[in-house]
Each structure stands twice: as C-alpha cells, then as structure tokens.
Symmetry: C2
C-alpha cells in the first residue's frame, strides 16, 4: 500500500493546486502516432541531446569499456542488463504521477455508465472537480478510484482503454500528450545501450499493465521487459473464449525494497546499469552497485524549473534526499537536467 | 499448494517404487559442460531429429506461413511469442519431477550441517531412504523438505547450489545427468523458432529460480524468459552488501489456470505458439488458441516406453486426459514420441 499512500498524498496536493487533466478524445490517434522513438540522430554522437561534460563522458566511457572485447571490464552480452525507473526518470511526474491523471480521467469517462456516481463519493467529488470534498475522502477514496479504474475488466479491455488514453489525453499544464513528455536524452540513452547489446528493462512503481499499454512503442522496450507494481488476475475459460480479468487484490509493490525483488523475479540477474530519480530507486541502484561486473548508476536530478520542474529533497513526489547523499558519497553519476540536457522533450524544448 | 500437493502424491509413489537419485559430486563440471544447445544441424533440415510426417510438416508449414512477408497470416516479430512447458515437454519427468530429486538430494547434502536431522522427521526418513516412514510424513513432511531446500538462503546461494547439482547429479534409472535428459527434437524446435524471430519462453510449474539456474544454458533461453512458480523474497541491505533472501512464503503457482496468468504477468501478450504435455498445460494452449493471430498448439505425447516412458490418461504425473480430448477435437498437433521422434535425448538415443 506504500504506493497507494504516496498517491493519496499526491492527490491531495494535486487537488489543492487546482490542476485539471484534459483528455482530448476528439484528437484521434492515427495522425499523432509518430512516437519519440522514431527520432534518430544523424550525427555520429549517440547522445546528441546531452551536453558535452563529465556525465555524458562517464556514460560513453563506461559503455565503451565494458563492451570492448579484451577489456579487463568486458561484460558478456547476457549480463548486460540495464534497468530504468519510469516516473521522473523516463518521463515527467509532476504535479502528480501521470497514472493518477489516468485514473481521474477514467472516472470521468466511465461516469455515463454509472449514474449513481453523481451522488456517490468519492466519484461525485472527482466528477465535480470538488477539491475540498476529495480531500475529505482521503486514502480510502483514492483506493476506490484506483480499483475501479484498474480492475474488474479483462486485460484486453484495460490495455485498449489505457492506450486510447495515452494517444489522446493531454497534460493540464504542459498541454501536450503525456507520452510526449518523455525525456529525449533518456530515449537516446536507452537506444545507445540497446545498440551496445544491453537488454533494457523498465522497473517502475507504476502498475505493470498500465505501463505496458503504451511504453513499448514510446520507449522501444518490449512488454516482457517492463516490470511494475501489479494486482492479481484470474483466468476464465468462458466456453472457448478465454479471458483474464484484473481483480482489485494487490499482488506486488515494485518500489523501494520491491525494486531489487522485482528485478530478481522478472529478470533473474543483477543489472549492471541502473537509472532512477528518487529515493524510491535507491535500492535498485544499490543492487546494481553490488554487481560483480563493472556497473554504472545514474540519478536524473530535476533542476530545471523552466523547461521541466525543479525538486529534490523536500518534494511531495519523487523525493531525492537519501539517494542524493548516497550518489554523492559513492560518486554515482548525477544528470543535472538544466545543465546536462540540451533539450528535455522530443519536441525539442 | 496445488503443485505441492502434486509433489506429495509423486513422492509417495516414488518412495513406494524404491527409486534413488545419485548426485555424483566427484564428477566435476568443467569437462561435462558441453550442453545440448551446442549441437547443430549440418543439413538444411531445421528439425533433423523429427521423422518426416504430418506433425513435422504442420510445424514447418506454420512457421513458413506466419513469417513470410506478404502472407495473409503474417505475424509481426513482436507478436511472435512461443511458450513451452518444461517438465515432460522439454525434459523427462519420470518417475518424479526432477526438482523433487533435487530437494531430496539437497537434504542429504545439507545433512552434515544439521546433525539433529538424524533423529528428526521428515529428514531422518530421507537420510535413511526409509520409504515407509516418509509416506507417514505425508504432505506436511514434503512441505518441510521443499521449504528447507528452496528458502532461507540468498538468491545467489540457491543459484549456485542448483547449478552445481545440475552439473553433477544423475538420474537413478537413466544414469545420465538430468540436464542431459532433455528432448533433442524439442531443442531443435526451440532453435528453429528463435531462428525465425520467435521469442521463446519457458512457462513451467517448477520453481522459477530452480529453472533459471540451469535452463538458460541448456535450452538457450534467457533467464528473464523463464517463468515459473515462485516463493516470496526479501531485500536486505546489509551495510552495503545487499542480498535477496528467499522466504518460505508462497508467491505464485504457475500451473493450470496459473499458466495464462503467468504469461500475462511476465510476457504481457498471448503466445502464438504453445507446447505442453499434460492437463496442467491445457489452459496455456487454450490461451494461445484464443490469439487473434494464426496460432499453433502442440502436445508432446509420451508413447515410448522403451526410449523414454509411456503414459497419458491415468498417469501419476503429467496426466494427459482432458487435454488429449481437446487436442483431438481441435486438431492441435500431437507429437507421438515413439513415431515422430528419431531420437529422444541429445546423446542420440
């Protein structure tokens, strides 16, 4: 319930801030399907959106060293496992986790089929954008919202609902689709590692099926290499038309200590490269740092209040405090968004 | 606990039959590391160990059809997911699951550090090969054996213990290492699918870390593409030397209805190709059969009492009854070991 608790806190802050997501169901997806991964560099530089400097150099030095046959630090291909957090590491996470925007948007989209929600909390408050009332509903209310939008449907239904949302819904502040708020420098990093025969995984606190519905196309990472928190599901045969239904029962929390556990569960070996942005990723980075092979740990540090957001030690979301101390002490790489990244998003801004 | 119950039944039968496993710790592994996957065909036939006939033709016809650009049945590479059961499908499973041989062997190997086991059940009975007493211990005793040999150690320790066992322990009847009792025709099938850009997964009722310790090398399937039953594990930081410890708590049973659930959990999409040998695989085959892409289901039918074992509808292990009916009714492929396979094992026999 850690994650849900976290979400509850964020929801309250989000509501207090008066933000509003705006899914634009009219936009259509076919014309907008040029995902970020289609962008390629024409120069020989594998990381063109990174400014030249110590961090960029440490990445390319590492990759060159461990992939060169005969190098003392050479890593066999099957051990080249890279794990990336998602929220705040591969895409933005402010003012609340984008998955929570999805949940609130979905309550609104589902409302016509639930006329009772007009008078039933916590749904009434969501439908009326009534912040005060939503705050009163607290964690219990949030759990209800999470359950109704993530369970009680088949895996196929959930997948198509989320992917339709990701194709159309827009961020209330940035006025862009959430899936366009991914970090161009990190897309290049993922691609660079893949080109050097690293197998790249997402290891996210977000719900696994939510991630898989859009992340495969956006990041170029196969569904089976996307690890996340999960709820239990159930097989039903249905007279020759089998389906799997998502239940509201919690299965696994892929956050903090859960991340190394999720890595061993889904991947079966330690990563040699791990990227995160918060204290929730610290254990994953520690786990990579304990690899017998030469390894690389990197934190994305949100320092750009103009182009993205600036936050770390005292943030309501994506807190980077203990992790920052440990990164400094252990000389892990720290990507300073403002100074290390030429652009933030694929749009070039 | 389904699987454990099954194991209990098998153990009783195994004990009644008076079988004895013989791990040969003296053999050494370096000289024996030529695994089955190193074997390659020199002819143009991708399935040289399969006799020409309807089953072999149906496999190659299917693969040719769905991988040919422009074919009406063409399947995009990312949807080419193949799932294989392990016990009885990729290696033998008689007279008891090989994982149970491991558990019993391990109790014996661990005994010197547990002098109390000489007088403590169920361990006493295992150490004395006392069948009558073991039978009296029943399921509770088996659970204790399973727990002591699969938990209470780090993932690293478990991995090295199992892989040492797999490198040396021999089957009591076949007098070969368990990992040499894999099916040569199935190794060729896995390779053939991989060569045609299918992503091949193992989806086994066996414990996931047990499988991963040896199956990657033996089958040429990466650890992260091995799905199985699991117990919970826990991250411990240990002053900068983190480890993950396996607890005795059950996490997930990857058998029967659990197989499609495990597939969606670990893979995130339906297979187009599924191979099994028992009723425990039926739901996995049904799940593949519900794929919108042209799909292929195959049962390995144990019909060779001379070269392997012959069993199906009334077997104490790997029962194939409902599944056989459904395979016949739906015209799924049925590989008749005796008639369809030129050889059973990589040794050529």
């Amino acid at each position: 319930m850690v994650r849900v608790k976290l979400l509850a806190v964020c929801l309250v802050i989000w509501l207090a801030a008066g933000c509003k997501s705006s899914p634009d169901k009219q936009t259509g997806s076919a014309s907008q399907d040029s995902t970020a991964t289609t962008k390629t560099s024409t120069s020989g530089d594998p990381l063109p959106s990174w400014n030249d400097g110590a961090v960029k150099k440490s990445i390319t030095d590492y990759v060159t060293d461990v992939t060169k046959e005969g190098s003392a630090d050479f890593i066999p291909v099957r051990d080249r496992i890279a794990t990336f957090d998602n929220d705040g590491t591969l895409w933005s996470e402010q003012p609340i986790y984008f998955e929570l925007f999805y949940a609130l948007d979905e309550v609104k989209a589902m409302a016509p089929k639930h006329p009772d929600w007009k008078t039933k909390q916590p749904f009434k408050a969501v439908l009326e954008n009534n912040m005060g009332e939503m705050m009163k509903q607290g964690q219990k209310g949030l759990l209800q919202i999470f359950a109704i939008t993530h369970s009680g449907m088949t895996t196929d239904q959930f997948d198509s609902t989320v992917s339709r949302w990701a194709d159309t819904a827009k961020h209330p502040i940035k006025k862009k689709r959430y899936k366009d708020l991914v970090f161009q420098p990190m897309l290049e990093l993922v691609k660079y590692l893949q080109a050097n025969q690293f197998k790249v995984f997402i290891v996210s606190g977000g719900e696994i099926d939510f991630m898989r519905a859009w992340a495969e196309d956006v990041y170029g990472i196969p569904k089976n290499q996307i690890v996340g928190s999960s709820i239990k599901s159930k097989y039903e045969y249905n007279n020759g038309k089998p389906f799997i239904i998502k239940t509201p029962e919690l299965d696994f929390i892929d956050d903090k200590e859960g991340k190394p556990v999720g890595i061993m569960k889904y991947i079966g070996r330690r990563p040699v490269f791990a990227a995160g942005n918060s204290d929730g990723d610290l254990q994953m980075l520690q786990w990579a740092a304990s690899n017998k092979f030469k390894n690389f740990e990197i934190y994305v540090h949100h320092t750009d209040s103009v182009r993205e957001w600036a936050y770390d030690r005292k943030s309501h979301i994506g807190t980077l405090d203990k992790g920052l101390d440990e990164a400094i002490a252990k000389k892990w790489a720290i990507a300073d968004m403002k100074n290390d990244w030429k652009v933030i998003y694929p749009s070039g801004k």
